[in-house]
Structures are given as C-alpha cells and as structure tokens.
Point group: C2
C-alpha cells in the first residue's frame, strides 16, 4: 500500500505523532509556523509518515487549532505521508478541505474512556467510523484507526483483550490501511504487550498492525522490543517523547522517536531516520514548548554534546 | 552458595549497588548516618544483597569516605548480604577490619579504562585480584569480581568480547561467588548484550553471571529483558537510578531498582522487593542528594501520588 510496506521484514515503519499526540498534551500552544517547522524538521530527519495535527474543536484542544493552516503550509514531499487525526465526521470534512488524503479516526477499547474522551458510546463511535470509512473510500482517501486504552484504562483498569480483538475485527472490516493499538496511559508490561501483539497480528498481519506506546513507567522500549520479536513492524512515536500523560502529569509521554530509532537500529532493524537530526529537532522543540523533554536518548545526546565527552 | 541461589529459575537475585555505585557518582556527599539509613531502608524494602560502600581512598572518592563507620552502624539482618567494594589489597584490609565478609573487586575489560580508573595495567590488576582471592579464601570470606566496560569503553569504543571472556575465565579460576559484567557507560544495545550474556553464561552458568547495567541511553530495561530471556538470573541495580554517568554528566546512572523490579515482576519473575518501599526510599534519597533521580518508575509513581490520579 505504501512504499514502506515493500521494504521487507528487516525494516520498521515509524509514524511520527509528535505534531499531534505530542503537542496536544503540552501546556504551551505552538503557533502555526512553529508547528509547520516541526513537521518539516521531522521530514528532514527521514520520517516518512507524520501526523501533522488533529481536526478537533479548538475549544477542547487549543494546541490543535488551525490545523488547516498547518496542512496548507507544510511542503508536500514525495514519499512522505501526512496524516490528520479526525475525531468525527466534521473533522473529516475539515481534513478534506485542508487537502489531506490520509486521515486517522480514534476510539477507545474501554467504554468509560471512550465516553470521557469522545463523549460517545463505543457503539456510536463505531457507527461514525463506519460512515467515515465509506466517505474515505468513496473519495479514494486512506484511513487509519486508533484503538486507545487497548492495554489498560485509567478508569476501568485492565481491559479484556478479547474485547479489544472484537473491536479490531470490526474496524478491520472497514478496510483501514492500519489499526494502531494504543497503550494510552503506558501501563502495558512486556508479557501483556507481547501476547496482545501476537493475537492482533493473527487478525491484522504485520502490514496493518501498528503499536502505539507511551513511556509512562519507562517500559516502552522493553515493550517495543518484545513487539518486534513477536513480528510487529509498525510503531508510532513522538519526537523527544513529547506529550506527557494526561492521567499522570509529570510522567513521560509517547515513546520518544529517538529512543525507538536507537533501539531498533541497534537490533538491526532499519528505520530510515537520522538520529542526529531528531536530537537537533528535540533541542529546538524543547525550547519551543518550554518543558524538559523526556526522551532518554535525547537527554543522553544532549549531555554528551554539552560536555564534549568521549564517544563510545 | 547463598539462600537466593536455591530459589529456582522463576526468581531473580538483585544486588543493590545504590549506596556504593549510586552515591559515589552523586555530587553531594551524604554523611554516615544518611548512608546507614539508606542501607536500612533498602533492607526494609526486601533487598537481600546490598553493596554498602567502597574502601577506596577518600581523596579519590570523598562520597565513600568512612565506609568503616557505615559498616559498623548497619544492623546486620539474617539473610541479607552486605557487600563492600575493595579497589586493592589495602581495601581488603579495611573491609576485614570493618567486619565485612563479602567483598567485591573491580577491574576493566579495556586497558585504557583500567589504567585511568585503577591506575594499573590489566595484568597488574589481575595479579592483585589473585592475591586478594587467596586472602579471601584463606579467611572463609566471599568474593565477587566486577568487570567494567565489558560492553564498551569511553576511551576505546567497542570492546572485543572474546577478550572479555578471556578475562572472565581468568577471574572464574579464582572461584568468585559471582562475576558482574558492567555496561559501565550504558552503550550496550540489546543484540550485543544478549549475545554477550549467552557466551558468558556458557562460561559461568546462571548462578555466577551477574549483569550490571547503566541506563545512559534509556536501553537498560530492554537490555535486562533480553538478558533474562537469555537465562541471566542476577542483576545489579541502584535505587532511584542514582549515579549518573561520569562520562556523560546529566545522563542517567545505574538502572533504577524500581525500574528493574517493575519490569521483572511484570515478566512473572519474583524479586522479593516491595516497589512502594523503593519509591519512598527514592523520595527520601532525592531530597538527601539534592538532584532529580532518573528512575522512570519512581518518577511515574511520584507524579501519580502528587496528582492522585486513577490507578491503572
């Protein structure tokens, strides 16, 4: 379906979600030109799939207001996919008007999180995603679907993975290009992540399953490792580990793109991403958002460059 | 040899090195009563092996001065092993005078690091450790040996693992209770760590091989995971991730004991350690050393307790 899908099993497709999932959870709101610069820097670093923002109402997420302007100003490069997150049909209309061809829907595996996050029952969400999928197909666009809280919910605790798989099957029927299972609050541990990925791979295959990890407890890289051991070939990440966790302020956000790339390249899995450019981007971003970014590799690289120590 | 060795393969022996490897790399010097309190808190948390300090000259490491007084004041509990690090024969004499029965020597896998760290050639170090081992055996004491820079050297870069294994074999001839392979500057990546552990396990077996990880790049838990997958059953760690990395100031130190326990327990591997007590200890320690501790699980637990968020 995409260029990356033809690379073979020795490479990993990374979707960079920093400009959306990262920024929407940072307190400081970046302006459009900063958001555009972030996307351009990420493309410069070699990222081939970038979620540039969401089309949610600015009253709820001011960090994501005017994503149309971001979409309009980002220079489209051949071979790079620009995703827009759409919370509902109105979001799809905005994404279409903004000229995006790749859109991502979101719903939760747990009922309570879905109600609190999207203000709908899961049944209502699924019906709306179905309607969106029809529109997307009719227009020759490409759909991705997120399943949040797939490995744990801040309100319900553990989530029955059989329920997650039922939802995955229902979404797979809509023929999305990928389904991203989110450890939204970073409570997944390696055994559960590995077992879940194995089951989801049976349903979706390696081309369609995406794993979306948060590093809340510091387990994201261990989880990514067992996932790729299990056969996962697509992961989401956020430059610098931006994003925090809305249910544990002060804790870490998405798994950092630097951290993921460092892990994967060390495992002999190609990502096509230049680590040094990510670090430079995180340095710029850290100054822009005004908070300490949590990516471990970033902090390591930064300390090393400041002190000019021996490389090893 | 020890009680832990008889637990079977579903448990992991952790040696807590915070009072030595952690504190020696923190700028602020704790006084003897604080160092004693740290050891007592760690024993309260369930740690069965604690390295309480080193017998190095206080001119070189002021953080470790008067380890005799720490040893004298720590309450000895049945079933808990109290280790003392000895840099040389003089250190052994001090450890004996302090009433310790368990001592650890240290040398590096790389020649340059050994010269800079210990001011000896590797050959000289090995000869001194041999003499120490004779004394230790003659007195019915117990020896552990550290091999630093086993997975990378700040001066030489990559380290030939065949050389590491030669050194491991030479040390194994001295009949130490354990040999701890150190990723001293945290540059090891999962593939290298796993391959190295498999080879070292062939030489030492799971009872004697210890893995000593630093989290400099954030890969320590991924490395611990592949190590236990390979059969490693003993690891060193430091409460709160204390220690920093002398060659990358600002970067993380030893793998945090909380992080390791959280990973291992999530894998179904028993550690016997109470996570909540570690977190309380790290909170106290953070205030004592006056720097932000880097343990991910600690930061997560702290954020959660501050904000009283839903547990999941």
């Amino acid at each position: 379906m995409s260029e990356q899908g033809q690379r073979g099993t020795a490479s990993i497709r990374i979707t960079e979600v920093g400009p959306r999932d990262g920024l929407q959870n940072e307190r400081r709101v970046l302006d459009v030109s900063q958001r555009v610069e972030l996307v351009e820097r990420l493309a410069d670093a070699g990222l081939k799939e970038i979620e540039i923002g969401s089309f949610v109402h600015p009253r709820w997420v001011p960090q994501m207001s005017d994503t149309e302007a971001v979409a309009a100003r980002v220079r489209r490069r051949p071979g790079v996919i620009y995703w827009g997150l759409i919370p509902n049909m109105r979001g799809l209309e905005r994404a279409i008007d903004a000229g995006l061809t790749h859109v991502a829907t979101v719903m939760s595996a747990s009922e309570t999180h879905n109600r609190k996050n999207i203000n709908r029952t899961r049944e209502q969400s699924l019906a709306e995603i179905r309607a969106i999928a029809e529109q997307v197909a009719a227009r020759g666009m490409v759909l991705r679907t997120y399943v949040s809280t797939a490995f744990g919910c801040p309100f319900e605790g553990a989530v029955d993975f059989e329920q997650v798989l039922s939802l995955v099957r229902a979404l797979a029927d809509l023929d999305p290009e990928g389904i991203s299972l989110g450890d939204t609050i970073g409570v997944g541990q390696p055994e559960r992540i590995e077992a879940g990925c194995r089951r989801a791979l049976e349903v979706l295959g390696a081309d369609r399953l995406v794993l979306h990890l948060h590093d809340t407890q510091g387990l994201a890289l261990a989880n990514a490792l067992v996932a790729v051991q299990a056969g996962v070939r697509r992961l989401d990440s956020s430059v610098g580990g931006t994003g925090g966790c809305p249910y544990a302020p002060g804790a870490s956000g998405n798994v950092g793109t630097e951290d993921l790339v460092n892990l994967l390249e060390g495992l002999g899995l190609a990502t096509g991403v230049a680590l040094d450019r990510l670090v430079t981007t995180s340095r710029w971003l850290e100054q822009s958002v005004g908070v300490r970014l949590s990516s471990r590799y970033y902090r390591y690289a930064l300390a090393r460059s400041f002190y000019g120590t021996a490389s090893a």
